[in-house]
């Protein structure tokens, strides 16, 4: 994609920038089509059809369409073009999406050669994003012909920027960029279900540099239009650790990419679901459950009740933060299935304490008293939400300060029912 705006007429030594660009592009295409039978070029030019004074913001045209061995055609075409107009970069990028033949097997790349900034109030960033939705997975390479620093910044979101200060630098950069585009290293990450099919997706993962441990990339895993794991184009010079952000995370260490090929990495993701419910729960109830891997004291996840969350198959220990806490150990979440646990809806304890008794509530489990709550002596009336079960209130009236006057009242809490206890 070549800039043919008015400023390209400017001279670098004795040749115009446009002249230099033209020659370099031709030489590149010419030498590559002889050494590589699997490469095709197309040329889109902008700013060449209308004079600058017309401010034509749609002045962009695919001058040479993709086809094998078209270097001569490119030369002939470019020779007929005179730079003169405006710089509609965003518009050109948008148009470029349709320049590529609709052949999903090819790797499509854009090399943008420009000496100026977007002049048409378009957003090149948005265009680049749209491009990547449209088969052009590689971020555009931008070769700037001696651009001022503030303009360079604008291109950061568009793609990878290279600066060329003179003809020699331009030549080097162009070769380097084409090299990168051709020697394309791609990576496909298959997240396998238990049948070994790559059906697991839509989950975040991080790629760390194997040697430095630095965070390199974060992606949300995606299945493409063919329901296959989408292909990533990343820096081939690297060995990676891949961490899939499941619960618990799954780590694949030391993934080495072979440059210039399509790399496939498979990671087993035996995912099942844990569904925690409370009967007839209102959203306001906001109950939570602590999930730990079995026998571990470290919290893995805190799940809201009435949520259904994916976990990697395994045994988990659960602590529901209800009153009383409800502990369930060694809950097995099987792959591809859902494990459901339902907590019965809480009931309400209402108590009256006109004698300002010192009082506490206990859960009775296998005859054992477990303290749950101490009442505030000052309150004459209070409410407490408890899950169904057997309980007791133990109290001693303020007016009878002897241990012997301690009373124990047993009661049952039933879902959604009110149980009243009078402390006297």
């Amino acid at each position: 994609m070549l800039d043919a705006s008015g400023s390209m007429k400017e001279l670098w030594n004795d040749k115009s920038k446009f002249e230099i660009s033209k020659q370099l592009i031709f030489h590149l295409a010419d030498s590559l089509e002889q050494s590589n039978s699997n490469i095709e070029f197309g040329v889109r030019v902008f700013g060449h059809q209308s004079p600058r004074s017309l401010h034509n913001c749609t002045d962009s045209k695919l001058e040479v369409v993709f086809s094998p061995k078209n270097a001569i055609k490119i030369k002939e075409r470019l020779d007929k073009i005179t730079p003169q107009g405006y710089t509609p970069i965003a518009y050109s990028l948008l148009q470029a999406a349709n320049d590529f033949p609709k052949d999903s097997l090819s790797t499509n790349a854009i090399i943008l050669v420009t000496d100026g900034e977007e002049k048409c109030e378009g957003d090149p960033c948005a265009s680049a994003l749209a491009l990547s939705k449209n088969r052009v997975a590689l971020k555009p390479f931008i070769i700037g012909l001696n651009l001022p620093k503030d303009i360079v910044m604008d291109f950061n979101c568009v793609g990878t920027y290279y600066d060329a200060k003179d003809e020699t630098a331009f030549n080097n950069v162009l070769n380097n960029v084409v090299d990168q585009a051709i020697k394309n290293t791609s990576l496909q990450i298959n997240l396998l279900d238990i049948k070994g099919n790559p059906t697991i997706s839509n989950i975040a993962f991080t790629m760390y540099d194997y040697y430095s441990g630095n965070i390199k990339y974060n992606f949300i895993h995606t299945l493409n239009g063919f329901n296959l794991p989408d292909t990533l184009f990343i820096n081939p010079a690297g060995t990676y650790n891949i961490e899939v952000h499941s619960i618990p995370p799954v780590l694949k260490v030391g993934v080495e990419l072979k440059p210039g090929t399509h790399n496939v990495v498979s990671i087993d993701m035996p995912i099942g679901y844990l569904n925690l419910e409370m009967e007839n729960k209102r959203p306001a109830d906001a109950m939570q459950c602590i999930v730990r891997e079995a026998y571990s004291s470290e919290i893995l996840y805190v799940q809201d009740l009435n949520d259904n969350e994916p976990y990697i198959r395994g045994d988990f220990d659960l602590d529901f933060l209800t009153l009383p806490r409800y502990t369930k150990k060694l809950v097995y979440v099987p792959e591809e299935k859902e494990k459901s646990l339902t907590i019965p809806k809480a009931g309400t304890l209402q108590f009256f304490n006109v004698d300002a008794s010192i009082a506490s509530v206990y859960e009775i489990k296998l005859g054992e008293f477990k303290i749950l709550y101490e009442f505030d002596k000052v309150k004459e009336k209070d409410m407490l939400s408890l899950i169904p079960g057997r309980y007791a209130v133990v109290f001693r009236p303020k007016s009878a300060p002897k241990s012997d006057y301690t009373k124990t009242i047993y009661f049952d809490i039933v879902s959604e029912k009110l149980t009243s206890v009078n402390l006297r």
Binding site: N202, G225, L232, L321, I358
Partner: protein
Amino acid sequence: MTIARIIRQSVAKRTLCCLFVVFLCLPFSIVAQTTSATTKRELTRVLFVLDASGSMLSRWGKESKWETAQRVLANLSDSLSKIPNVETALRVYGHQHLLIEKNCDDTKLEVPFAKNNGAAIRKKLYQLRPQGITPIALSLEQAANDFPYTPARNTIILITDGAESCFRDPCEAAYQLQLRGISLKPLLVGIDLPDEARESYECIGKLFNSKSDIQFKDHLERAIYRALATATLQVELLDDKGKPTQTDLNMSFYDAQTGYCLKNYYHTLDKKGHPDSIDIDPTPVYNIVVHTIPPVHLDSVEILPYQNNIIQIPTPQGFLDFQLTGADIQSNIKNKIKCIVKGGEYDQIVNVQTFNTIEKYLVGRYDVEILTLPRILLRNIEIAPNKTTTIPVPTPGILSLSKSDPTWGGIFIFENGWKVKKLYELKDDLKLENIALQPGKYRLIYRAKKAKSMHLTVDKEFEILSGQTLSLTL
């Protein structure tokens, strides 16, 4: 001080507590003196279960075994009816059918519980004739219904000269009585029991086997003495300096044998600041639990009868307070954030606290995990005696996300710059989400559901400020 040490300390103290025992009463001589002047007796019921099987007719010294039992029991019943708040009853087995009939249902409550029924028992004893077999297990089972339902201290004294002869398990029957809280272990008075019968009763309870009529009288008196024994108990809950200043804690007293909770006592200091005296049944062996956080257990406590017993249990406590340090936020957000306190012997969750509440804990070190996003884990938080440990937590801010399209993704934190950790998975079906996050920098990594390329993943940094709402549109 760790909790484990407290528990070990209290056990160590317990061996000492026998030395602390203060003798208030003289050793007893006869049953009628068993009422201690210092304690009021709770209602006590004694059920005599008497063997009237054929073998009771055999000679034992000058009389038959039956005549001895008749005479001694009748006299003791007379004495017992003079003690206030004591009721007696009589169940007899083996008296209604001949031995050859082998009737295993031959058991009957002859005199039910009532006050002053010494005369009634005497009269009934002289009407009966022994003749049949020995259905002890069934007698114990049926004894459960002989006691009125009102709460009281219920005891069974079983008088027998032989083993169960209906092929059932008296131990199981006795255990069931305890489990149901009807009575404690029966006391057994044996009349010249053969060795194998003695062994079969070991599991039931304390056995007094008599070799002569004089010894039988002595043994029956001792059994009654135990059944009626009273005692008082003072529990000293010690602070960190070993002073009994801790109070207002509930203490559960369990029967160590059955695990049944017999009594709860809210610990009380009297006007002079001393632990008050509790009237307590000295028959069972107790496991005591003081309901601090975490609870303190003191197992296998034996109470000496007719004495004031003093037990010392260290329960030094301090306070823990979780405070939000920034501007106040909506109470539903604040109350949803739970503070988990772990510790004690098994390093388990001992309590769950919310913000701006102060709770009491045993002194020691605890791990605290606050369920904010991200979670805050603080290890070895010390609770010192009578001091409040305050844990300041920055008030969270709110991320308000609105999504124009359904989105996959989550909120991540780059821990130390090198570890990506997921904190929150976006709800893909919600258009608007409000998420409370601690102040700090986060990453939002997401992709529209309809986007079919991984390169469309957006990785966006944002910063949450305490108490403020940040609105982002995806």
